[in-house]
Structures are given as C-alpha cells and as structure tokens.
C-alpha cells in the first residue's frame, strides 16, 4: 500500500472474494475486502453443497476446521407427479473420498469462517458497507465509492455476486437475461440430528443430497432440492426466470405445495422453519460469460456467472473459490510487473482457460439450451411414474405385458421425441 492506496480492493466477502483476499494477504499485499452485509455470508444463500476439491487445494484438510454441515454420501434424483414419485438412489463410499467429497453448508457460518481466514492472513474486512460505484479514470478502475467515501486501489476485484451491478458499471457485463438466471427459494427447517439420520438412513456426520424434477415446478423449467445439514434440512425450488408466466401459482405457493407432496412431507415432519430465503442462480453457463477483466479490474464467482448446472448437479462455490484463486494469482503477477492494465490482467483469463472451470463450462455449454425442453419437466416424470404404476399396482385384473404398456406410455411422449432427447442429452453429458 502506497499512501492511502490499497494494493487490492475486493468487493464482496463470499467464497470468491474471501479466497482472493486470503491468498493476496498471504502474499503480502495490502487488501481491503468490503462487504455490504453486517458480516460475511449475511446476504448469501446456497442450496447447498460445496464440492471440496478447489478449497482442499488451497486449505488442505479444511473440512476438519471449517463449519461444514455434513459430508454427502448419498445422492438421490426423484421424478414427481402430483401423487407419485420415482427415485434413483446412489450411495457410495467413493462419494466421501478426499478431493471427491462434498459437504452441505450454511453460508452465514461458512462464509464468516472463510472471511476470518482472510483476516487472519492480514486482509482488512469492512462489513456493513455498500459499494455504490467504481472510480474510473481514463477507462481504468482505480477504486470504489461507498456513500461519501472514496477508496483507491491498484486493482479492484468484483466479487459482488450474481447481480453484480458493479461489473455492469465497469462495462464488463451486460444485463442478466431471464433465460440466464433462475430464482431459488429455500427454507431451512430445523430437526434434531438423530431424526435426520434416521429419516435419511445416515450415520452421524453423513449427509444426503436430493434433487426433484417434475410436479414440484408444475412442469416449468427448474427443480427442487433437499440437503441435510447437521440439525436442519435445506429444502427449496429453483425456477428459470424466462419460464415464469403472468398467472397461476406463485413461486412461494409452489414451494408450499412441494412441502405437502407425499414424497416430501414425511421428510420434514415435525420440523420448524428457522429461515426463509431467496437468491438468483446464474445458469446460462458459457453463454453468459462476461468480459472477465479490464484495466484495473477483475470479475470472479457468481458475478462472472461461474456456475455449472448439469441437471443432476449444480456447482457454484467450487468455481467461485477457484476463480478467486486465479484472480489472486493474476494480481500477484501484475504487482510484480507493476502493470495492472487489461493485457497484463488477461493472465486471469488464461488461468481460468487452463482450469477445470472453463473445461467444465465448455463441456456443458449446450446443456442450458437442452434443459429448455418442457418434456423433461412434465412428460418424462409422468412416463416414469406410469411405467412403475403398471409394474407395482396389482388389483387382480389381467396383467398386460410390460413391453406393451411401456410402449403405449412412451407413445404419449412420442418415440421420436424420446430418441431425440436421449441422443441430445447423451451427447451433451
């Protein structure tokens, strides 16, 4: 820090901002992290689960120290119709292996812990401060404006979340489009740990992750999720905004109906609502990637839209952490040269290009378009339930051969549609 100028100002103390702050402070840079909430995590919400690999690389063995909830050892995908459900359940020791493990988390605790790591390393955390604008001189970002205060830095990292008003102001990012984001709503439902373990067939410390598709969104693009925490369940829905209409059930009403579904109701029985939250999820993948850097500025995490929705998994925090790391590396390299112009900060983009972030975003680039197919959310759950009904509903009437009944159900969707979707889905995944 020369005079009153910080080496780096980071806007937002979520996972990407705190990791960038942690690594920069460790490298000896004067870092200021500005957070608009009263504490790190107080404005943040996740489904949610953290895949450990990227944080494990930076803070080995973090899960022993960090306030994680449960290690996920069971994955379930459930297709819902109004009165029935068909589930696929995957349980494996492999899910818990180091660097392949994932943890359910609650962000108020988790983000505070991560921000405290940055503070311990020497970063300054200023909470309860909303950054209103950027200082831009001759096209170069030179600091931030918060109310009456102006703070200067050699470089600013924008880790201000999915809406990132600042990345828009910096001219790096276009306005979000309704087909690029989904609204997520969630309830945290308190239940004793032993009840959760009995209900989900878990040992202490183990967790379950469940995704739901079909009736929970009334056939609209989106889905339901459930994650077990230590003493609570995170239950919610996600809807792509472009599929929101002007009438019908509201998003909060659909969550209430989801809670009353026979496949869900017993799981949360006796629970107590302790928090209700909402958040946007960037789901456009590669198509919504902004310009990741400019003169004196970098964009990381949700602000850069770094989320992968592969249908059966949704990942954001592991990408956020890795992007914070890459931004920190680029800033450290820039400081060594004393050059914070865009061509030099392009190193950040190179690091992302050569990481799992761009590899996986590229792999799934066509997936958001594939998911804009209502058959996945309406006809296929119905098809699965119809086939299983034929298998298991015994009432003494003559049984028809499965081949015949299954085929008749498939014909309702259209055999060509089925083959087309299977081919497309198989190709993308």
């Amino acid at each position: 820090m020369s005079g009153d100028i910080f080496d780096c100002i980071i806007v937002g103390a979520g996972p990407s901002g705190s990791i960038a702050g942690y690594l920069l402070a460790q490298a000896g840079l004067e870092v200021l992290i500005i957070e608009r909430g009263n504490f790190a995590g107080s404005k943040n919400m996740t489904g949610g689960r953290l895949y450990s690999h990227s944080l494990e690389k930076i803070i080995p063995g973090f899960s022993k120290e960090a306030p994680v909830e449960r290690r996920v050892i069971k994955e379930t995908v459930t297709m819902l119709t109004g009165d029935s459900s068909v589930s696929l359940d995957f349980q494996s020791e492999l899910l818990g292996e180091e660097k392949k493990d994932s943890y359910t988390v609650l962000r108020a605790d988790f983000d505070q812990w991560l921000a405290s790591k940055a503070e311990e390393a020497g970063a300054i955390l200023a909470s309860g401060v909303r950054v209103d604008d950027l200082i831009i001189q001759d096209g170069k970002v030179t600091g931030v404006i918060a109310g009456e205060d102006e703070m200067e830095a050699d470089v600013v990292i924008l880790a201000d979340g999915v809406n990132s008003l600042l990345a828009q102001k910096a001219g790096l990012k276009a306005e979000l489009k309704p087909d690029q984001v989904a609204v997520g709503i969630k309830e945290v439902i308190e239940l004793p740990a032993n009840v959760i373990e009995d209900r989900f067939n878990l040992n202490p410390g183990e967790g379950a992750a469940r995704l739901f598709v079909g009736d929970c969104t009334k056939g609209k693009i989106g889905g339901g999720f459930l994650y077990t925490n230590k003493n609570s369940i995170s239950l919610g829905l996600v809807f792509t905004l472009s599929d929101i209409g002007t009438e019908g059930l509201s998003v909060p009403q659909m969550l209430e109906e989801f809670k009353q579904h026979p496949a869900v109701k017993p799981l949360i029985k006796g629970g107590k609502l302790v928090e209700y939250s909402g958040h946007l999820v960037p789901e456009g993948g590669l198509t919504m990637l902004p310009k990741l850097y400019g003169d004196g500025v970098l964009v990381v995490g949700d602000a850069a839209g770094l989320v992968i929705n592969a249908g059966y998994t949704v990942r954001g925090m592991d990408l956020a952490i890795a992007s914070g790391e890459a931004a920190a590396q680029a800033v450290i390299a820039a400081q060594e040269k004393g050059d914070y112009t865009a061509p030099n900060l392009a190193h950040y983009k190179n690091l992302l290009d050569n990481s799992f972030i761009m590899r996986d975003l590229t792999k799934y680039q066509d997936f958001p378009i594939f998911m804009e197919n209502h058959r996945i959310f309406k006809q296929y759950p119905q098809l699965a339930v119809d086939i299983f009904k034929d298998l298991y509903l015994i009432d003494g009437n003559p049984l028809k051969p499965l081949k015949k009944t299954a085929l008749s159900h498939m014909k309702k969707v259209g055999i060509v549609n089925l083959l087309k979707d299977a081919w497309k889905g198989g190709k993308i995944l």
């Binding site: 995590g41 107080s42 605790d109 979000l176 489009k177 006796g270």
Partner: protein, 95 residues
Amino acid sequence: MKPMGTEEKLGVDKFSVDEGNAHIIILKDTSSREALKKCVIACPAGLYTMKEDGNIGFDFAGCLECGTCRVLCAGTETLSWNYPQGTFGVEFRYG
C-alpha cells in the same frame, strides 16, 4: 409441517428495515404490466401484489434482495433498483 403463508415465513427472518428509504421503487406501472405481473408470480417474498384497483403494489420491507424483479423488469425502466444501504435489509443467520 402445517402450510404457512409467505408473510408468516418472512416473520421468522431477521430484517433491519431502512424506514422511509426504499431500495426498490416502481417508477412506472402501466407501461410494463407484463413484467410486473411476472414479479407477482416470481418474487420469493411475495412483495408484489395485484391490488383491487388493478394496479400492482409493492412493499420493500421483507425483500430478500435476490434481484428477480430487477431481471424481469430489465430494459423496461419500470424499477429503480439498488441494494439496501450497508447494514440494512435482510440478514441471513443460516443462508
């Protein structure tokens, strides 16, 4: 769990409301009816309501600061949208 209304759910959350200083304001209603009607459906906090006179009402207290209305109304100059001042607004204790 018994069915709960959205207002009752918001009652469980912790808010510090910046009284008299709304961070979201409806600037124009009639010219962007479609977008605002979508907000009535999509707002997680149910803060956009269809009133009896046909106008759409909005209450900023209880806002979860997700940005759904901002994106749905983008490009229509319907809303003035910002985050609440620092320290104000929702405070997630779980997240």
